[in-house]
């Protein structure tokens, strides 16, 4: 379950500040639409979370308590309290709660490191949020939005049915 | 310690499979040589083992009573088969001695009769202790994982019941329908060949990094460490604990009993007591973490931590 090269290539070409601007826009929009996330996160909102797509050259640092997300080239990613590594599409699937985090951990498609309590709190908080990226960012413009929308639609149309097929 | 009555020593049932003569001789020494006041005997772990001790129960009870000890009979900890249910029913029906209940079926059957409650029954609060007392429980050995704060509250909230603390021995941590001990030797429970008898003190389970961690005792899992609440005796006495339970290990239990007797009476310092326990149980690793609400495997030397 990896990002198609058609998506990965543009991401490599776009300068980090541009990716970061777009990501922040999406992030703040999602946070505003899902305030319940904070309630469920409780004190874990103050932890620093890393999301590291294994198939992209960048990683994301999320600090929910500060309402902040930043994008870094992988070697420059600042220290985190807890981090999750896996394919970009898979990470988006987890964000939306369309994939079961435990199942992709069991299958070794996902690795988690650091403070497991914090990671579990975030997982559970996200799971209750019903984030739906296409509709959450539907109104947004910017260079990154089409990419995320495309990734999200990849989850729907290509990746998830194929995965489901493998279960049979 | 002023005003508090000193607790007496009690001996829990042998948890391991010892052959009949070894089991009998162990109790003869307990009868003849120790200051232990109460002795609980009987197989609690596995119903398949019952026949090993049955031929010797009569003479052991007689010898213990002749030495002035009070004797109770322990019921099975895990009852799933009809045969096991019958064993418990027969024990409750026929016993001329008080029974220590170790599962809910015994608790149910003993309603209205004076009995004691073993450490494997979940008594975590005063409400539960009082309920059991109202049904006939006269003494309760609290679960080994209970922290001191809970012990204090339960004893305070439950007048009229003698409370007992699991103060020495590998801690019974879990019990299963499956026999890990038999499996570890390539056998299954139904044809186990009583292989657990090869390990009279339990079979050590190490982590993959060779760190000793647990021990197998048939269907039961016990701790690798030996829980030792001896520096904690003053606060246990102050809290009103009536009995200090020693759980038999394959070591010099007569010496262990004397060490605890001296410590209760204030005749020895904790450091000396621990050194003597190590002589009696060579190679043992002691723990007391549960008492402090910490990991059970921990050893906390500074008892001012509470």
């Amino acid at each position: 379950m990896t990002v198609s090269s058609a998506m990965a290539v543009p991401l490599r070409l776009i300068p980090i500040p541009a990716i970061e601007r777009a990501t922040r826009l999406v992030f703040s929009h999602v946070m505003a639409r899902h305030p319940g996330l904070f309630d469920r996160l409780g004190d874990y909102a103050h932890k620093r979370y890393g999301f590291i797509p294994s198939d992209l050259p960048v990683g994301f640092l999320v600090e929910p308590g500060k309402g902040r997300i930043s994008v870094h080239r992988k070697p420059d990613l600042p220290p985190t309290d807890a981090a999750v590594t896996g394919g970009f599409v898979l990470l988006l699937g987890l964000l939306e709660g369309r994939l079961d985090g435990d199942a992709v951990f069991f299958s070794r498609d996902l690795t988690v490191t650091g403070d497991m309590e914090a990671m579990l709190a975030l997982r559970n908080a996200l799971d209750d949020c019903n984030i739906d990226l296409p509709s959450d960012i539907g109104s947004l413009a910017g260079p990154f939005a089409p990419l995320v929308r495309r990734a999200a639609s990849e989850i729907r149309s290509r990746v998830l049915p194929r995965e489901a097929g493998q279960w049979n | 310690m002023t005003g508090a009555t000193l607790p007496s020593l009690s001996l829990g049932p042998v948890l391991y499979l010892w052959d009949g003569p070894k089991w009998r001789d162990f109790y003869f020494r307990i009868a003849d040589e120790t200051p232990i006041a109460h002795v609980v005997i009987g197989e609690t772990v596995c119903s398949k083992r019952l026949h090993f001790i049955e031929p010797h129960v009569g003479e052991v009870v007689e010898r213990l009573e002749r030495a002035g000890k009070s004797v109770s009979l322990a019921s099975l900890a895990l009852v799933t088969l009809e045969r096991e249910a019958q064993v418990v029913r027969a024990l409750v029906r026929d016993s001329t001695h008080p029974i220590e209940a170790n599962d809910l079926s015994a608790l149910g059957l003993l309603a209205g009769k004076p009995h004691s409650v073993g450490p494997l029954i979940n008594v975590y609060n005063g409400a539960t202790a009082r309920l059991l007392a109202s049904r006939g429980a006269t003494s309760i050995c609290l679960p080994p994982e209970l922290p001191m704060a809970s012990v204090r509250d339960i004893v305070r909230d439950t007048p009229g019941v003698s409370f007992e603390i699991f103060a020495f021995g590998r801690v019974p941590l879990a019990i299963s329908a499956r026999c890990a001990h038999a499996r570890s030797k390539g056998l299954v429970k139904d044809n186990c060949q009583f292989i657990c008898g090869d390990d009279p003190d339990g079979l050590v389970v190490e982590t993959l990094d060779r760190q000793p961690f647990l021990a197998l005792n048939g269907v039961q899992t016990v701790s690798h460490t030996c829980q030792t609440l001896i520096q904690e005796l003053p606060e246990l006495i102050k809290a009103g604990i009536s009995r200090i339970r020693l759980s038999p290990q394959d070591c010099d239990m007569v010496a262990v009993a004397r060490v605890f007797d001296d410590a209760i009476a204030g005749r020895s310092l904790p450091a000396d007591a621990i050194a003597r326990l190590l002589d009696a149980y060579t190679g043992a690793q002691f723990s007391n973490g549960f008492h402090y609400g910490q990991q059970g495997a921990a050893w906390i030397a500074d008892h001012t931590l509470t």
């Binding site: 951990f105 908080a125 | 059957l109 879990a174 647990l214």
Partner: protein, 325 residues
């Protein structure tokens, strides 16, 4: 037979109801229930909304208050029962005798179920709880064979609920201090087994190492399916043999025996997994619902889709079959 489904969050609760649960069980966001994990479980308001949603769709709500009351903190457990009753829980699932007594006395009309954590594994034990606390149903520990269940059903005066799918406790439930021994947090007192606060994963060469507190619980070579760092499913050395001392990282699946369970007199089938995500709940509940309606011959194909969602990606019928022992 009723299908009893897990929910750790309101979103999972709705998924379970939509997928055809007869009842959904859940707990409050504190130590009063045995899945006290960070970010999981329900506030009072969330439970109220969940119960209303279930009612609209003809489903029941069971509230698990199935840890043991901490001495001196009984109020937390009492309030959990008070609120569950007040909000209209169809049943409360309890393990502690003291709390059962409180509930039976205060709320004689409230339906009381005996949690698996109470460890009632035989007829005398169950009848004790039925007579003393008027329990209407018992959730049996995962240590009985199907013939054991059938025999038990004839000797007791309440309904039987059994686990059929999900996590597998190898030890008798409610009587296990393994996790407490390694971490200081107790399943019985704190509602956590292998608490996340003490779990670490690290890579060692190409192995994934899982640790709980100071102990290595497993090393997974590259490509091998992983599991939770639960002690009873860890890999250890016993007498110089390296392996799974208690049980492999597998989960429970007894759907092949569902007709036997019905004949044995079982009233309700329970799915484990309040800690799992809503995607899992939706998938498992809908497949189970279809499997229950299907012919026995068609069930294995339906259920096999769930295997890859399971711990270790393998399943076992556990103690329900005698050879497991």
């Amino acid at each position: 037979m009723e299908l009893i489904c897990p929910a750790g969050t309101p979103a999972a609760f709705r998924e379970a109801v939509d997928a055809g649960a007869d009842a959904v069980y859940c707990g409050f966001r504190d130590e009063t229930n045995a899945r006290n994990f960070p970010g999981l479980n329900f506030s009072r308001d969330e439970l109220k909304a969940a119960i209303a949603y279930a009612r609209q769709h003809g489903a029941m709500t069971f509230v698990a208050i199935n840890t043991f009351m901490r001495a001196g903190r009984e109020k937390l457990w009492h309030e959990a029962v008070d609120d569950a009753v007040r909000l209209g829980a169809d049943a409360v699932i309890l393990a502690d005798f003291g709390l059962m007594a409180y509930t039976a006395e205060r709320y004689p009309e409230q339906r009381l179920h005996v949690s698996v954590q109470a460890s009632a594994s035989n007829a005398d034990a169950v009848n004790f709880l039925v007579e003393t606390f008027r329990a209407k149903r018992v959730v049996l520990p995962r240590i009985l064979t199907i013939p054991d269940l059938a025999r038990l059903a004839k000797q007791i005066r309440c309904e039987i609920e059994v686990f059929v799918f999900g996590g597998l406790c190898v030890m008798a439930e409610g009587r296990c201090s393994l996790s407490s021994y390694a971490t200081g947090k107790s399943p019985n007192m704190n509602g956590v087994c292998s608490p996340a606060s003490h779990v670490r994963y690290r890579e060692d060469g190409c192995e994934l190492v899982s640790e709980l507190g100071d102990y290595t619980i497993n090393r997974f070579p590259a490509g091998e399916a992983a599991g939770y760092p639960t002690l009873c499913k860890g890999r250890f050395n016993v007498a110089d043999e390296r392996g799974y001392a208690f049980e492999d990282p597998v989960s429970l699946d007894v759907m092949d025996h569902v007709d036997l369970l019905r004949e044995a007199g079982v009233s309700a089938l329970k799915i484990e997994g309040r800690q799992r995500g809503k995607a899992y709940v939706a998938e498992v509940v809908s497949v189970m619902r279809r499997a229950l309606a299907a012919n026995a011959a068609d069930r294995p194909a339906l259920i096999s889709r769930l295997r890859l969602l399971s711990e270790g990606q393998r399943t076992t019928s556990g103690a329900y079959e005698k050879r497991w022992r």
